[in-house]
C-alpha cells in the first residue's frame, strides 16, 4: 500500500492531501482504485485536501462506481470547505456517502 493508504479495523482508509487537480489527480485516482481493489470497505479522508476540481471528483467517482459494482462500501469523511462546495455544486453530495 502506498503511504496515504492504511488498514483500519473498518476496512481501508485512504488519505488524500493538498490540491487535487489535473496534475495530481492521476496519482489520487491510482491510490483510490488500488484501495478499492483490496476488496474491503473504503473510507476516503479529505480533511487535508485544500482544493479539488472536476478531475479530482472524476477520480472519486470512478473509484466509487468500481466499489459499488463490487458490492463494497465507499465513504467520504472529513469533507470540508472547498471540497464540500464542489460536491454540492455537482450534486454528488447526494450520491456519495459522507460520514
Amino acid at each position: 500500500m502506498n503511504p496515504g493508504t492504511h488498514q483500519t479495523g473498518d476496512g481501508v482508509s485512504v488519505v488524500l492531501r493538498g490540491e487535487i487537480d489535473l496534475e495530481t489527480s492521476p496519482a489520487a485516482r491510482e491510490q483510490l482504485l488500488a484501495a478499492v481493489a483490496q476488496g474491503q470497505a473504503v473510507t476516503v479522508d479529505l480533511g487535508e485536501v485544500s482544493y479539488m476540481d472536476s478531475s479530482g471528483l472524476a477520480s472519486l467517482l470512478e473509484a466509487y462506481l468500481k466499489a459499488r459494482d463490487a458490492g463494497l462500501d465507499f465513504r467520504l469523511t472529513r469533507v470540508g470547505g472547498s471540497v464540500q462546495k464542489v460536491l454540492a455544486l455537482s450534486k454528488l453530495d447526494k450520491v456519495f456517502t459522507i460520514v
Binding site: E19, D21, T24, A27, L65
Partner: protein
C-alpha cells in the same frame, strides 16, 4: 553487507568460529526485524557461535551518573531466564564493563572480587564470564554478557573477548536505530505544536504588502515555522527600510531566533539610517541569543523612492540581484560572514549604494536557489533569474507569487523555506482596465501557478474570497479543457490569460492556439446520472455570470471569456 558475504581470507581462522560472517548476519537480522525479536535471535546466535551456555543483554536505564540508574536485563537465552533482573550501575562484571567501557574477561569467577554470585535458585554454577559494553559514539547503552563455555575447557579466551566486542557493536547500532525511529514518532507529535507556533509567527509578518508600492515580499515556510523572515518598514519621511534573513537550522529554535532578529530590525531601523551600522547592531544583540554553531545570514537596506537611491548591507547572505532597466543582472556577493560568527571588520558592515532607476533589486533565501527541478537539478542563481525574467511583465506582487509557486515542487513538501523580496524602482503601470496578462505553457503543472496568480489578482481587485475561489475554479476547468481537448494532451501549446476589470465585474480571457471549438459542443451535460467526465464545462457556467466564445485574435485558435461580478448583487462595492 548482504547475506553470503565471504569473510576475507586474512581473518579466517580454521581453529575458531567465523565471527566476521556472524557480524554480517546480525547486521542483516537487525535491519529486517523488530528489535525485540532480533535481539533474542542475536543472543542465541552469539551463544551458539561462542559455545556458551547462556547470553544476556543488559540495557542502561537512566543517565550514567544518576544514582537511580540501573542495568536491566532485557533479553536472555540459556538455562536460567533472568529477563527483568536489575543491577545497580556500578555492580558486577556487567557494571564494570559499562563503567570502564572495556570488555571484561573473567576466566574463573572464584578469583574475581567483582563477581556477584547468582542466587541459589539458579540452575547452574557460573564459572567464566565474558562481557562486552555496548556504546555508540561515547553514549553508553549497556552490555552483552556470555557465560560458561560449553566445551571441555569451559574458559573464554582473548579472541572470544574481541569477537564479543565486535558482535556487541552490531547490537549497539541496532539499538540506536530503534531509538531514532521512536524519536521520529515523537517528532510527529511536536509537529502539531510547530503548527500552532507557525500561526502565531504568521501574525508577526508584515501585513499583506500589496499596499506597498515599492517593496513586496513573500514567505513560504517548509514545515510550519520558518527560519527565514522578511520585513518592510516605511519610515517617516517616505523612505522604506527592508530586511531578509535566514537562520541556520530548522524547527522551533530557528523560528524563535528569526522572530528575535525581526524584532531587533523593527526596533532599530527606525533610529539607524545606515544599513551597515544597523546590521552590526542586530548582530551584536543576536550573538547573545544564538546557541553555539547557530548563525543568521541577513541583508538590510534602505530605499528612497524620491531619489531612487538604494543602500544595503549583507552579512553572509545570498548575493542580492539588481535587474537593471535593460534586464541585465548584477550580483553583490557578501563581503562579510553571517551574524553570530564574528563581528565585521571595523565594527560595521560594508554598504552598497545604487540607483534603482527603472530596475528592481531581488533578495531571496537559499531555499530558492537550492530548489530542484523535476530532474533533480538545482535551480541556482541562473535558474532564479530565468524565472524572474519569465514573469517580468507582471507587477511585483504577482511576480513574486508566480515565482514562488514555480519553486514549490509538484505536490511534495518544500525542502527549505522560500522567501523572496523585491524593491521595484517604479510604480507598476496599469493599462486601462487590464490587471494581468500572462502566457503559460499548456501543461497540467502550470495550473497551480494560474490559480494562485488569479486568486491574488481577483482579491486585490476587491473580489471577495469566496467569489474569487469560484472564479479560480471556473478558469481552472476552462484551462483543463484547453489542455485536454484543445491540445489533446500535448504539452507544447500555450494559454494566454488576461484579467480585465470593467465596472463591477472581472473578465478572464483565455486565448489558445488549439483548433477552433464549435460553441454547440460546449454545453455542460445534465447531472442526472453520475458519470465521471463532463463536469468541467458545467462548473464553468455555474460558477460565473457569463461564458462567451469571442472572436480570437488573428492567427490564434480560440478566445474564451469568463465574467464574474466582484460582489453579489445588492452588496456594497
Amino acid at each position: 553487507m548482504s547475506a553470503g558475504t565471504v569473510a576475507p581470507a586474512a581473518r579466517a581462522d580454521p581453529a575458531g568460529p567465523d565471527y566476521f560472517a556472524l557480524f554480517a548476519e546480525l547486521i542483516e537480522d537487525f535491519a529486517r526485524q523488530d528489535i525485540g525479536v532480533s535481539m533474542v535471535a542475536a543472543l542465541r546466535k552469539i551463544a551458539a557461535a561462542m559455545d556458551a551456555e547462556s547470553a544476556s543483554l543488559f540495557l542502561l536505564e537512566g543517565a550514567p551518573d544518576d544514582p537511580q540508574a540501573r542495568l536491566v536485563c532485557r533479553a536472555c537465552v540459556g538455562p536460567s531466564d533472568i529477563t527483568g533482573a536489575a543491577l545497580p550501575v556500578g555492580s558486577g562484571i556487567v557494571g564494570r564493563a559499562v563503567q570502564t567501557n572495556e570488555p571484561q574477561l573473567v576466566a574463573d569467577t572464584r578469583q574475581d572480587p567483582d563477581f556477584v554470585p547468582p542466587s541459589p535458585q539458579m540452575q547452574y554454577s557460573v564459572r567464566s564470564i565474558l562481557c562486552a559494553p555496548l556504546s555508540v559514539r561515547g553514549e553508553r547503552l549497556g552490555a552483552v554478557e556470555v557465560i560458561n563455555r560449553r566445551n571441555g575447557e569451559q574458559l573464554f579466551n582473548e579472541r572470544d573477548c574481541e569477537a564479543l566486542a565486535t558482535l556487541a557493536n552490531a547490537a549497539a547500532l541496532a539499538l540506536v536505530n530503534a531509538r531514532l525511529t521512536r524519536d521520529q514518532v515523537e517528532q510527529a507529535r511536536t509537529r502539531r505544536e510547530l503548527e500552532l507556533a507557525a500561526s502565531v509567527q504568521r501574525n508577526l509578518l508584515p501585513p499583506d504588502t500589496a499596499g506597498q508600492d515599492y517593496v513586496q515580499g513573500i514567505n513560504l515556510p517548509a514545515r510550519g515555522v520558518s527560519g527565514d523572515f522578511y520585513d518592510v518598514l516605511p519610515l517617516p519621511g517616505g523612505r522604506i527600510a527592508f530586511a531578509l534573513a535566514d537562520v541556520s537550522g530548522k524547527g522551533m529554535n530557528a523560528a524563535l531566533v528569526a522572530v528575535k532578529a525581526a524584532t531587533l530590525f523593527h526596533s532599530y531601523a527606525k533610529e539607524m539610517r545606515k544599513p551597515g551600522k544597523l546590521l552590526a547592531r542586530i548582530g551584536t544583540e543576536l550573538r547573545e541569543t544564538l546557541h553555539r554553531g547557530m548563525f543568521v545570514t541577513m541583508v538590510v537596506g534602505l530605499y528612497d523612492p524620491r531619489s531612487h537611491r538604494l543602500r544595503f548591507s549583507n552579512a553572509g547572505h545570498e548575493p542580492p540581484l539588481w535587474r537593471d532597466r535593460e534586464g541585465r543582472y548584477h550580483a553583490y556577493p557578501a563581503q562579510e560572514p553571517p551574524l553570530g560568527i564574528v563581528a565585521p571588520a571595523g565594527g560595521v558592515y560594508p554598504e552598497v549604494e545604487l540607483q534603482l532607476d527603472g530596475g528592481a533589486l531581488y533578495l531571496y533565501s537559499d531555499g530558492c536557489t537550492e530548489a530542484r527541478d523535476a530532474e533533480g537539478r538545482m535551480l541556482g542563481q541562473a535558474g532564479l533569474q530565468e524565472l524572474i525574467d519569465r514573469y517580468a511583465g507582471l507587477d511585483s506582487a504577482a511576480r513574486l507569487q508566480a515565482v514562488a509557486a514555480a519553486l514549490a515542487p509538484e505536490g511534495a513538501e518544500l525542502r527549505d523555506d522560500i522567501t523572496l523580496l523585491v524593491v521595484e524602482g517604479r510604480r507598476p503601470r496599469r493599462a486601462r482596465g487590464l490587471l494581468l496578462r500572462q502566457e503559460f505553457a499548456a501543461d497540467p503543472g502550470q495550473l497551480k501557478v494560474i490559480r494562485r496568480l488569479l486568486a491574488e489578482t481577483a482579491q486585490r481587485a476587491g473580489m471577495e474570497a469566496e467569489a474569487a475561489g469560484e472564479l479560480v475554479l471556473a478558469v481552472d476547468e476552462a484551462c483543463q479543457n484547453i489542455i485536454r481537448h484543445g491540445y489533446h494532451g500535448r504539452h507544447d501549446g500555450r494559454i494566454e490569460m488576461c484579467v480585465r476589470r470593467d465596472a463591477e465585474q472581472l473578465t478572464v480571457e483565455l486565448v489558445d492556439d488549439a483548433p477552433p471549438v464549435k460553441p454547440e459542443e460546449c454545453h455542460g451535460r445534465s447531472l442526472d446520472e453520475p458519470r465521471p467526465g463532463g463536469l468541467g464545462t458545467y462548473f464553468m457556467s455555474a460558477l460565473t455570470d457569463r461564458v462567451r466564445y469571442l472572436r480570437p485574435p488573428p492567427g490564434a485558435g480560440n478566445r474564451l471569456a469568463l465574467s464574474k461580478r466582484l460582489h453579489r448583487r445588492g452588496e456594497p462595492s
